[in-house]
Symmetry: C2
Subunit: 286 residues, 2 copies
């Protein structure tokens, strides 16, 4: 090892596994009222953001997560105009949402302004659409925001949160999902990051059950690689208010999209929805 580098590891207690990076230096840190945010420079992954010691993103691989949290839902909805992102303070999901020309409003509501300030400094590429007139950045409690949002005023809610412990715990239960259900229009879609299909499979089932109790009628879990999160294999789950609406997506629009993506494509969208037998069995889809 070069004397100027060291290794930084994140130990995930629930999975008994760890992921680490070779870092050169700490670039920045701030203790917000909510959490401890640190930025490191790595040798191979660009900048690295940790929140309370947990890896949030790296410059190099965040495109996987951000593209998959946004484009599948936006191409599944027939005509998404009004989008709300709960969490997502790094602004990467917001940037992807705003690539869709049909979107007329995108509200990002993260409780911690410092996440966005750090992202503006250290991940400026993710914040390049923050000045878009369709974008509104709120720094507030996402649970309260969804509770107070006008009923039937949202097409897609994207819950781009940290793990279901700490500040984000309240984003994984029936009460929150009921707020989302009420705020969504009849053809609306809720999207939530749903952890690792391998290590935290039971969580996906529990999340779907809570969403179902809140009224959501149909679910689709998409999996994708995400090296910076536990096991390197991640998922998001889409929920539709109406069971009958299904998850066929606007494939021709996805193929003809006028913006570039690194990971997302119509074929990847279709492939990501294919779950392996052991996951299907756990979700009673087998």
């Amino acid at each position: 090892m070069n004397a100027d580098t060291q290794w930084h590891y994140e130990d995930f207690e629930p999975t008994g596994s760890a992921i680490g990076y070779r870092i050169t230096r700490k670039l920045d840190e701030v203790r917000s009222p909510f959490q401890h945010i640190e930025i490191f420079e790595t040798t191979d992954w660009g900048n690295l953001m940790l929140i309370d010691g947990a890896v949030m993103l790296t410059s190099r691989d965040n495109f996987l997560y951000h593209e998959m949290m946004s484009h599948p839902a936006l191409f599944t909805h027939a005509d998404p105009k009004d989008v709300v992102i709960i969490g997502g303070g790094d602004c990467g999901t917001l940037r992807e949402v705003l690539r869709h020309p049909g979107v007329r409003s995108a509200v990002q509501c993260d409780i911690d302004e410092q996440v966005t300030r750090m992202s503006e400094k250290h991940f400026p590429e993710l914040c390049e659409s923050n000045g878009d007139p369709r974008a509104q950045l709120l720094f507030d409690d996402g649970i309260a925001y969804m509770k107070n949002r006008e009923p039937g005023s949202v097409d897609i809610v994207i819950v781009d949160s940290t793990d279901p412990v700490g500040p984000a715990e309240g984003l994984f239960n029936k009460a929150f999902y009921e707020s989302c259900f009420r705020a969504l229009r009849e053809d609306g879609i809720l999207v939530q990051q749903s952890e690792s299909p391998l290590a935290l499979l039971e969580l996906i089932g529990e999340m779907r059950a809570e969403m179902g109790k809140a009224g959501f009628g149909a679910f689709q879990t998409l999996s994708f690689p995400q090296p910076c999160y536990p096991t390197g294999w991640w998922s998001c789950t889409l929920a539709r208010k109406q069971a009958g609406a299904g998850f066929d997506f606007r494939e021709q629009d996805a193929r003809g999209k006028e913006f570039d993506t690194l990971y997302y494509s119509a074929d990847i969208h279709r492939a990501a929805a294919v779950l392996p037998p052991f996951v299907r069995k756990a979700l009673n889809e087998g």
Copy 2:
């Protein structure tokens, strides 16, 4: 952390990233003439095998790799009868190959007998087909074995090796691929583990180029999650002698297979062959 556990990390110098496990104790170790093999007990991943400090497999997640190294190739070949596995000393790939009733011979040639001995002790489930009369376990140099194998006597060669450094270096070049090409029948398929599509993407292109120089006419890279390897996202590459043979697989046979798999399915086979735009571009498939 519990006082009885500790974290063991593998730092991958080429990718600048690391993967770790929470371990309870070292179960075994041996220094063979070729390498240092260690077995640890983990809290959440079953047993863990390291070779020269590099993670080879865990009890919990090896099914991903072993199923994807075997079933896609075996269902792509019209009628695979004679299979050779180079490396694969843990016997997991051999077990999957032998699930196919049409296979009449499966030779596993690993240079290091101690890998198999350790697997028999600590991963006995992977060795449960070692006594199959169709199986032949050789402990010899795979490069020499393929060089001396009778021309046109093999349907599928599976190169289930460690990374292209150290003992396995000679398994990633034109000379070895020429031996494989000669040993394969006209409709034969070569399969090789081809590292991470994210972190080691250039290696896939280089491998395909070397295979092409050896005469192989068509290539297909499949990607799949593999948490214990760098980035958690892995791939294998199939090469056909004849370009025209293509990669359509026996989908009906895959759907009707009479053995269980945890990860592989006909739908997963199709999905794994879908590469994201950034990989397609790097491989000039975009």
